[in-house]
């Protein structure tokens, strides 16, 4: 009886390993839209975040724009102006991690710009940015 149990356990283990071996762990992807990036005319435009701003980023990896962090205009895309952080790293993370910049339209953060992938990741809801 014990032998049979051992055999069943072994077969189950091999079965699970066989099935799981073919599984992809890399299941969560950041969805981004390819977008057109244009260099800005004004290279000096910056703003400072007046208060901590929590962001519901993709895949539940929340992000925080820190109070006092500075952001510099580096370009525009059809969805808004693109600001790069000067003193904090911003990333979007699912299974992979992407450096990200802010996309701002009419004082609201509307998404992320991925400078390497040249893509736009929209937020489900715009976030008002407290700017100094």
């Amino acid at each position: 009886m014990a032998r049979l149990k051992n055999r069943i356990s072994f077969v189950l283990l091999v079965g699970v390993a066989f099935v799981a071996g073919g599984c992809a762990f890399d299941l969560a992807h950041v969805s981004f839209e390819p977008t057109q990036f244009v260099q800005p005319l004004d290279h000096c435009k910056t703003f400072v975040v007046a208060n901590d701003v929590p962001i519901d980023a993709p895949c539940n990896y929340d992000r925080l724009l820190r109070k006092g962090s500075s952001w510099k205009l580096v370009g525009t895309i059809p969805k808004g102006e693109v600001y790069k952080p000067l003193d904090q790293v911003l990333t979007v993370e699912c299974s992979n991690i992407f450096e990200a910049y802010l996309v701002v339209s009419e004082g609201h953060m509307v998404g992320f710009y991925l400078p390497v992938e040249k893509g736009f990741v929209p937020l489900s809801k715009g976030i008002e940015l407290p700017m100094e």
Partner: protein, 146 residues
């Protein structure tokens, strides 16, 4: 009983920090934090945790092997300004992408997460202040590409 003992010993051995970096401490190496070449930036790679030390995946920078993610170890490379992808492969391939500018210093920290058969080692782009404070406890691995 025997099996339980073997399993216990296996877990114990697996959790020991075998495979940790053995080179000189960061403070002894005292590398420049920026590239000597004005056209290049410097990328530091480090791994603070001894968890899963036996897993030392190759670090691929834009498809080129530049070193290994060794527990408690660090190394650095200088590269021209541009777009970069760091890939580590264990059970799965994990990627971090970022922009490197002239004269800029970037820090890629390797973390370990649970996997099915083995832990996953993945890179994370961290703030310079975080990188500077964490890397001091790591040992130089010299970009081991063997």
């Amino acid at each position: 009983m025997k099996r339980t003992m073997f399993f216990g010993i296996f877990i114990l051995v697996a959790s020991l920090p075998f495979g940790c970096a053995t080179g000189p401490q960061f403070s002894m190496v005292q590398p420049n934090m920026v590239s000597e070449s004005p056209d290049e930036g410097r990328i530091f790679f480090y791994r603070t945790s001894a968890l899963g030390a036996a897993i030392k995946p190759a670090v691929m920078l834009n498809g080129e092997k530049v070193g290994k993610a060794i527990a408690k170890g660090f190394f650095f490379v200088d590269r021209p300004a541009g777009d970069y992808e760091v890939v580590t492969s264990t059970e799965v391939k994990r990627k971090v992408s970022f922009v490197l500018e002239k004269g800029q210093t970037r820090f890629i920290k390797f973390n370990v997460s649970m996997g099915f058969f083995a832990g996953h080692v993945y890179g994370e782009l961290v703030d310079e202040s975080v990188g500077m404070s964490e890397i001091v406890n790591c040992k130089y691995t010299g970009g081991d590409t063997s």
